[in-house]
Each structure stands twice: as C-alpha cells, then as structure tokens.
Symmetry: C2
C-alpha cells in the first residue's frame, strides 16, 4: 500500500528530509519500516502525524509540548483538560512575547526617528543604546525577547 520514501513524505508535508530524521531521533516520530536496502518507508499515519507536528511547531509549541500532546492523543477517552491547558500556556507565551515586542518596537522607532543623520559622534541611536536610563521603561519587560534572530 501507500508506502513512500522519506523524500515523498518531505514533499507531502513540507518538512525537510533532515528534519524528519531529526524528529525520529528525538522520538517525535516512530521508527518507520525499512525497505530491504534500509530506506525508510512511510504510510498515511506518518503523513498525519508529521502534519500535526508541523502545525504545532508553526504555532510555536515547543517540542516538549508537542510530545505531551501526542501522548495525550494516545488514549482518546481522557478528558481534554490537559490539552487545553497546554494550548493556553502557549497562548500566554505568545501574548507575553507580543507585549515585549511592542515595547521594543516603540523604543526602536523612537530611537530612529530621533536621528537626523550626521556623524557617528552625535548619532542619537548610539546615544540611546548607550544610556538605558533615559528609556521609558524600567527594564525591557522580560528580556531575552528575540531568542535569536533567525538571520538567515
């Protein structure tokens, strides 16, 4: 029946081949069957599961949360309290970050509009970066806001 190689699965879900293997290595995906020569072979269940993972990741759920969600799916008779709790936690996280980013946006905008060009010595952007005391905030509510800029 419908058994696809890792490349097909990748094409079907939009998840890179290496990422699929990575998910398997961290036990997010079950080990698939193998062909005689050792190539991975997937069925419809894998497409479903991988789609689920991808959507959750797109929404910012950490892998640990996705692992929880998957384990909850295993027995469908359970109450979905925990599922909803995880989702609400994630929503809270997203909102926390939104608040932080809004503060950053405001400060960056202020910095940039204050600069009217000229020499580095008198650049208000550099001045503002050097003197946190003049900011409108005590601290940048929360820190470590942009975990790391993708930069790619």
């Amino acid at each position: 029946m419908g058994s696809m190689t890792i490349g097909k699965l990748s094409g079907a879900t939009g998840v890179k081949v290496t990422t699929i293997r990575y998910y398997e290595s961290i036990d997010l995906l079950d080990e698939p069957e193998r062909s005689a020569s050792g190539q991975r072979l997937y069925g419809a269940a894998a497409v479903e599961r991988l789609g689920f993972i991808r959507h959750a990741r797109d929404l910012g759920f950490p892998v640990s949360a996705i692992r929880e969600l998957i384990s909850l799916q295993v027995d469908p008779g359970r109450d979905c309290d925990l599922v909803d709790q995880i989702a609400r936690r994630q929503l809270g996280e997203v909102r926390r970050r939104l608040t932080q980013l809004e503060a950053l946006e405001a400060e960056l905008k202020r910095m940039i509009t204050a600069c009217e060009g000229g020499k580095v010595a008198s650049c208000s952007v550099l001045a503002a970066l050097g003197h946190h005391e003049h900011c409108l905030h005590e601290e940048h509510a929360g820190k470590e806001v942009l975990a790391a800029l993708p930069s790619k």
Copy 2:
C-alpha cells in the same frame, strides 16, 4: 583608580558573570587587565561598554549587529548612515515578528475558545492542530516564529 572585579561589574550592569566572560571570549569585550593572581579588573570604560551591549541585546540586536555598532563607534567622524541602517533593520525584524505573533495569537485563541471541554477524542484543539487546511491562512506567514521558547 576604579578597578572592579568581574562580580562588581556584573552587579553594576546586571549582566551575569559567566555572560561577561562569554562576551570576552567572542571579542565583544576587550580583554581586561588582570591582578597579580590573574583576576580580571575592570574600569569605567568596561561598565559603559557592557551597558551598551546589554541595552542592544535587550532590544533584540544580534551580537553580529552589536559588533558592527561597536566598530562604528570607534571613529566618530564617520557618517551615521550605517548605524541607522542597522537599527532600521532591527526595527523591521521586530515588526515582522509582531505580525507573525499576531497571527499565531488569533489562531490559538480561536482554537481554544472552540473547545468546550470533554474527551480528547473530540477536542477541537487537537483537531485544529491536526488539520492545517482549515486555518484562515495559507501558511503561518514566515515560520520559525518563536525561535525557541525560552521555557525557563
């Protein structure tokens, strides 16, 4: 003159001791003088520099950008075009993330409010995660939105 140990510098700037040593290792901070027994000794310039770095990091500037900004500070007679360009790039980044997060917020909220409790089998949160097709968006504009949840 005012020479402080790494611990004092840490206290003065709010940057952890280990992080200060890390910044030195990646050449964001100059190597400081050392006491006879090898302990780092810092002066006022280090406090200033580290404060600058911290503020820029708080605003989400990647280390690579901070490195650029520092190198620009070195000759103050230059035009500040580049400084402003870096800041605007950062502002753009922040805005891009804001947009993404707003989309995520909306989808998570929708998911959660659709769930009215019950069993896992019928939980709308899990259903929504499983079926990306029913979303209001083609893709989650941009992906890799929350580089990694701090989770700490």
